[in-house]
């Protein structure tokens, strides 16, 4: 078996597993065009065995492997939240101020890690560019790619379109959102 085939099979396994945990079909997940980028992101952030580990973990066990939560968030919002951040409700508030330079919306003492405020939120953390695994450092949340934002499942889940992208057409706002049977 060639290396290429192996990678392709692993990618397919990742998408199959992601369909189970996100509630969207494999068709929808491939349809985002982000499958490869997300697969690479998980591998680079959590190590080459991380995906196999979560796939073979017992779904009945709670709490689940924290990487599962990271993967779900990744598909929904296109942002990688490391397992240590994925469950925190305050982290989302950190991502916007990091960009705009505005004051964080949460108190300083809830800062998830010392590196977070200093490091850029996106750009240098493209899939495959410098993983956290092995380095021991904590990676701040980052947007995987410009397309990851527009392809987030959350938009389809709420029947909306990403602001500033995928325009639905002049006057379409007069209609109810397109409801999908997900």
């Amino acid at each position: 078996m060639t290396q290429g085939t192996t990678t392709e099979e692993k990618l397919r396994e990742f998408v199959t597993f992601s369909a189970t945990v996100t509630g969207f079909s494999e068709f929808d997940l491939w349809g985002t065009g982000q499958a490869e980028a997300y697969y690479e992101t998980v591998v680079h952030q959590e190590g080459p065995d991380a995906i196999q580990r979560v796939i073979s973990s017992d779904p009945a066990v709670t709490p689940a492997d924290p990487v599962v939560k990271s993967i779900i968030k990744l598909w929904y919002v296109g942002v990688w939240y490391g397992p240590e951040l994925a469950g925190r409700v305050d982290v989302a508030a950190w991502t916007a101020p990091g960009r705009s330079g505005a004051k964080p919306a949460v108190p300083d003492d809830s800062q998830p890690g010392p590196s977070l405020a200093r490091r850029a939120v996106s750009g240098s953390h493209q899939a495959g560019a410098g993983g956290a695994h092995g380095g021991g450092g904590r990676t701040p949340p980052f947007v995987v790619s410009p397309e990851a934002y527009t392809e987030g499942l959350l938009w389809r889940a709420i029947g909306a379109h990403p602001a500033g992208s995928k325009a639905p057409g002049y006057g379409s706002w007069a209609n109810p959102p397109a409801s999908e049977d997900c």
Binding site: F27, W30, G31, G33, E147, P168, G169, Y170, G171, A178
Partner: protein
């Protein structure tokens, strides 16, 4: 294509208003037939990686939609009834277009050098050297649509002339075809002039259509040329001329009369890796560099059919759903072209949803065909 508005002595094969309507229907079929190939190539580009190619193909596709609307306006102006919902309106790809002595196939396929070569052929039709070269006997063997190249049976011929799978046949005389699509439009312009001259001598006009059926600029926004309201000979010729020259440029120049770069030269920029700028000669763009990443493309299975999707039930379901929504879209568009132009605004929303559905299909790898991705089949 040079299309002088008033050269009275040129013969016209179009002798009746019904024949003109038939030609214009074929024009609608032709303009539409370019869209699925352009859209398939456009959405095969991986997001974020081929911005130059994306913009070039997108502009051309949008202008083909303008052409469809312009032909519909001419049809309505001369009392015709556009019908985009006939069973054979959409070709079973590949479709065939004439180009000089040969026919060439137009496939649904991903962006590639071969696809670009086809696009260049679509947009620069050969021009006849003289009157006698404008029509060519139909060579069915060359098109390969009949067994062993024999002339089709009457039944098969009727089917082929109705369908959009062989374009450029002479309506009413399918043993002949036009040398090129440029000559096809030339014939329509001659027909308009001939019939209108005849009508005026009798104190009437062929422009009897209800002006309320015209799609006017307030219903059409695209940024790629203006829609023309057709109310008489001048506007009809202007609309048909725009259709022809947006493809290949005014009198073969880089720019058309609305100062837009002609489609042929837009595509040539991708081939040459450089943009045109004002003052350039054809074939020698001297503008900024343009980058094409030929590899950053989803490998859509060429001329994909529903039958190819048996092994992928989810994709099959989505492809069927796409075909249904495309048929619905054509129905909306048809209503817009038949007296309810305001419905064009609603058709735009449908277009955006169609775009999203196409993207999803194209990004899905097939399990039954390793290395190939799905795509819209356009089997309506």
């Amino acid at each position: 294509m040079s299309v002088p508005a008033s050269e009275p002595s040129q013969g016209s094969r179009i002798q009746t208003i019904d024949e003109l309507h038939e030609y214009l229907y074929k024009g609608l079929q032709l303009e539409h037939a370019t869209l699925p190939p352009y859209l398939t190539a456009l959405y095969s580009l991986q997001p974020g990686k081929n911005a130059d190619a994306w913009h070039v193909i997108r502009v051309v596709a949008v202008e083909e939609m303008l052409h469809l609307t312009l032909v519909a306006n001419v049809m309505n102006a001369v009392g015709g009834t556009p019908d985009l919902t006939k069973p054979d309106f959409v070709p079973n790809y590949p479709t065939h277009l004439p180009c000089g002595p040969d026919y060439f196939k137009v496939h649904l396929r991903p962006f590639s050098r071969e696809a670009l070569d086809t696009f260049l052929k679509i947009e620069k039709p050969a021009q006849a050297a003289g009157e006698e070269d404008r029509f060519v006997p139909m060579d069915w063997a060359a098109v390969g649509l009949t067994a062993d190249g024999a002339a089709p049976t009457q039944e098969k011929l009727a089917e082929l002339t109705e369908s959009a799978s062989v374009l450029g046949l002479v309506p009413g005389e399918p043993t002949q075809r036009f040398l090129s699509i440029g000559e096809f439009y030339e014939e329509i312009i001659r027909g308009v002039n001939h019939l209108e001259d005849q009508a005026r001598r009798a104190g009437t006009t062929i422009f009897t259509g209800d002006p309320a059926r015209q799609v006017t600029p307030e219903y059409f926004y695209s940024g790629g040329g203006d829609v023309i309201k057709v109310t008489g000979r001048d506007t009809a010729v202007a609309a048909l001329t725009l259709v022809a020259e947006q493809g290949e440029g005014l009198y073969g120049g880089i720019f058309d009369s609305q100062d837009e770069i002609a489609h042929y030269y837009r595509f040539q920029q991708l081939e040459k890796g450089r943009y045109y700028q004002k003052g350039d000669d054809p074939g020698e763009p001297s503008g900024p560099d343009l980058h094409v990443d030929w590899g950053a493309v989803y490998p859509v299975k060429p001329d994909i059919k529903l039958a190819d999707l048996a092994g992928d039930p989810h994709i099959l379901a989505a492809a069927k759903e796409f075909n249904r929504s495309y048929a619905t879209f054509l129905t909306s568009l048809n209503l817009a072209y038949n007296g309810q132009p305001a419905l064009l605004l609603k058709a735009v929303w449908e277009m955006f949803r169609i775009r999203d559905s196409m993207n999803r299909l194209i990004r899905n790898p097939l399990t039954g065909h390793p290395g190939a991705n799905a795509g819209p089949t356009f089997e309506l």
